[in-house]
Assembly symmetry: C2
Homo-oligomer: 555 residues x 2
């Protein structure tokens, strides 16, 4: 009857789809989970609103380590029908439980106590993060405890085992993507954390909303990536104007400040205080209010998520939607991006620490530009998406044109039929020969243009068109990237020519290994590390980024 997934850790979760408790058919939630070759595809805003609703109906529950799932669900069902649930282990066993009705959440909370053990003092902020304890009745029935399902083998080692057996580079790319991408559970958990933070942030601004942006929603997010949130205060401005002209009009008496930025800083500062003082499961709160985009950074310990909350960041949200569209328009985009990100990380082209490295966002832009340049193109240019936009999609943000079509079904499928293998090799060749000295990359036009200013690598920001998103990259890093594309292209072409699979790494695995050029001091003897080992440890390190520090900005 009950069908549920237990994860060793959301961070290590497999990509299995979530089963609903009641065995109902799950609502289609994201374009990436539906079959892209058939039927309609979900638009970004639809996915967001469904996810937000799910989150509002959900409760985060800390559970005893050994919990009897049937009894747990029976306990919950006294408050209302459970729509879905899953368990995960992160600082103890937790469950995310979604109820069918909002009222059930309220009912559960009204039956929830404040911890009142002696010598235990708490800040009595009530949220949808609760803890379920075994009662005496439960203790007596402890003998009938269902043992927890056996822990799954670490997913990283699955690639390790599978890779050599897979028959094509394309299959390897899909395994990589499956391992790296956000699982259904992780996405649900992210929206729930956002919803909990929203409850804090909107206590004083009831019309405000908290949005997820960046890798959590742009369809290129990997397990463990940061949770980027922004507080949208725009909707506060609404009011009902009187029907008849009157001698008087009313406005709120509000604290005046010197700039919109100061207002954002004040608001974020207070929210930061609140998260720091009340936020259940939140710690390591840092207010970074003097940054270009002021933010509050904190760790949501119970979910293992690093969170960044900024005020107004609508351009970043548009940017996320644009990536979502590209990621869901063609089935080859995401595996290609995931493979190339993995490849770049192995060779130290990208890094989890800020610096002169190419960012994941820049690399993704390079992939998109390359796909626009194929003949016929795999994906349309941003200008083509703009021309398809409806009236409501004509959006200007701070003077920047962020107009593009949001309805995936209005965008014609590509006539390009190249295989993922071909595209991967062609990508490497394309950038191996690209004239970075003269040209800039621009996904808006989809053509090379002269660089407007000196920079080793110039990738035009698609919305803030005067900005270079890769101005951090220096010449030596760029050269490293170019050399690597040439080397990897050669390796793959050589394989294709020889078709030799006699025990040696091949396909993706062959280019996912470091060479002496990556690690200067490595001796020749050790220079080639086993590809499988590399992939295994790489995947683990990629997934753990979210726990150890902030990765690069990603939009």
């Amino acid at each position: 009857m009950v069908n549920c997934i237990r994860l060793n850790s959301v961070l290590r979760a497999t990509g299995r789809a979530l089963s609903t408790t009641a065995g109902k058919k799950q609502r289609p939630l994201a374009a990436e989970t539906s079959d892209q070759h058939h039927g309609t595809r979900n638009n970004f805003s639809d996915v967001q609103s469904v996810r937000h609703e799910q989150a509002r109906h959900s409760v985060l529950i800390g559970c005893p380590a050994r919990i009897n799932e049937n009894k747990f669900l029976k306990y919950l069902s006294q408050y209302g029908e459970v729509a879905s649930h899953f368990f995960f282990d992160s600082n103890g066993t937790h469950a995310v439980v979604e109820f069918v009705d909002l009222q059930s959440v309220e009912s559960l909370l009204s039956g929830t106590k404040i911890p009142n053990d002696e010598d235990l003092f708490v800040v009595p902020y009530k949220s949808r993060y609760i803890r379920v304890k075994t009662t005496e009745v439960g203790q007596q029935a402890a003998s009938s405890l269902t043992p927890p399902p056996p822990p799954q083998s670490p997913p990283a080692s699955r690639v390790f085992q599978l890779c050599p057996l897979l028959s094509a580079l394309e299959e390897q790319a899909h395994v990589l993507q499956d391992e790296l991408q956000l699982t259904e559970e992780s996405v649900r958990l992210r929206y729930l954390v956002s919803s909990l933070i929203s409850d804090i942030a909107t206590a004083y601004f009831p019309e405000a909303t908290v949005h997820l942006y960046g890798s959590s929603v742009n369809s290129f997010g990997k397990m463990g990536c940061d949770l980027d949130l922004f507080l949208n205060l725009e909707d506060i401005k609404g009011y009902k104007s009187g029907k008849t002209p009157s001698s008087y009009s009313a406005e709120f008496w509000m604290r005046r400040v010197s700039s919109g930025r100061t207002a954002q800083q004040k608001i974020l500062s207070v929210i930061g205080e609140c998260i720091d003082s009340f936020g259940p499961g939140c710690n390591e709160v840092q207010k970074i209010l003097n940054a270009r985009c002021p933010l509050v950074r904190f760790s949501h310990q119970s979910s293992g998520l690093q969170c960044d909350l900024t005020a107004d960041n609508k351009i970043a949200l548009r940017s996320s939607e644009l990536l979502y569209i590209y990621g869901n328009l063609d089935h080859r985009v995401r595996p290609l991006v995931f493979s190339l990100r993995c490849w770049a990380r192995v060779h130290g082209i990208t890094s989890c620490i800020p610096g002169q490295w190419i960012t994941n966002f820049s690399l993704t832009m390079m992939v998109l530009f390359f796909l626009q340049k194929r003949n016929p193109p795999v994906i349309p240019t941003l200008d083509q998406l703009k021309n398809l936009a409806g009236k409501k999609e004509k959006i200007m943000v701070d003077g920047n044109d962020c107009t593009f079509v949001g309805d995936l079904n209005k965008i014609k499928q590509s006539a390009n039929t190249e295989s993922l293998d071909t595209l991967l090799i062609e990508f490497l060749e394309f950038y191996g020969k690209f004239d970075f000295r003269t040209n800039c990359i621009d996904i808006r036009k989809g053509i090379e243009k002269n660089k407007p200013e000196a920079a080793a690598l110039y990738i035009q920001n698609p919305f803030e068109q005067t900005l270079n998103i890769s101005k951090n990259v220096n010449q030596s890093q760029l050269q490293k990237f170019v050399n690597l594309t040439q080397e990897s292209a050669f390796t793959l072409q050589d394989q294709a020519r020889r078709s030799s699979k006699n025990g040696k790494p091949w396909g993706l695995a062959s280019i996912l290994q470091t060479t002496s050029s990556d690690k200067g001091a490595t001796t020749k003897r050790n220079k080639k590390v086993s590809a499988s080992e590399r992939i295994g440890s790489l995947l683990d390190s990629l997934k753990d980024n979210g726990n150890t520090g902030k990765t690069e900005a990603e939009h």
Copy 2:
């Protein structure tokens, strides 16, 4: 039709009762406003709940300097029926408007804009403090503006003019009380400010409540006194227990802290941040979190009120109720206390700065103790009030017995019929002869007891019975007090004996003048200042205390 009071300033408001807009009979609100000789008397808790409800239905409105009252009311009436309103001037013209229905407040707010002039940036926190502006339509009709009512003569000078004409000391005492005590408007404004702060403080703690305590509610408050508030978090603890025994129980996941005090500090700190960043009309916010009773102090500029917000302070609330009961039990208590406070302030016995001076609270306790000692007593002892208490009034706070009857109508009226004149003289004689060296004052028993520990003046805290509320007073201040009682008693007795009213100050006025013993360096020529002048400037200074600094603690 419209009947409304315009005040030059709430701080200088006269004691006229508020007329309701619709000409309806005003609800009886406080024992002190009803005729104490006839009919039932309002209990403290009833007054508090009526006042809180009024405040919830009220809006604070900043108005143009010259406002047409009828048009203003017509404008407001489009949102619902106005129950009462009044104007006052404090940092510009303001109005407090109470609506009959809560819905009308919401309706008004939903028709209220966020200020959106160019170059004007605000923190968009919406409260019930708004600003009404004249529209173009209103400008066109400006010629029909009703001129504002003429400013009233400063109230202090009324005493100045009236005092010599009054025929009895008792009448003088009543005039003093009328001038000094809180007006209906000031009380409403205080509850409204409390309600606005409550909206901020309870955003995260919906079940929490904000209470007024101290001089704003104990019936001994004077115009300009501080607004003492406390945040009651007790009611957060409630929850509905499940009907059937279950294997699990739920509790909120809350931030753990080392003590209840730390929790209070965290909560007050965040609320302090919110008031500082959003609180409309609030400024000069200070967090005094390391005090014995952690507090947030701020100035509510638009009302001219100095506010202190503490967390849990239930003993202080019981203390306020006890004073309220004593103040409303017998008609002689309040004029006697007001007169003696005025007398003590003139002679430097009390002061608006903390130090070795006798506090108003201590002086009030001395008056109460004296009244318990009359034969027959004017007021009962605290133990007698305790014996009258019902089951619900048996209240322990942190191990301290705070039990006493709350229903004024259960307390028998005193058989004592002494005049206010007599009581005033007797008070002076009583403390002129009191054996402060040996005895302590205890309103719980109403009898002198041996001092439990060395202190110039020992007045037992009625609830925290091991504490001396006047331990700050040193021997020289006490001696000054004793000398003054003797001097003043002599002056009044001398007058009574000679019955001379030939132009010289007499009655209260005669003892409300300073002598050389009060001001050491004053020359003999100037040593007697005109009594009327003294009273006038004294009243002004008494009323202005709230604006210039914190006065002594008062419960």
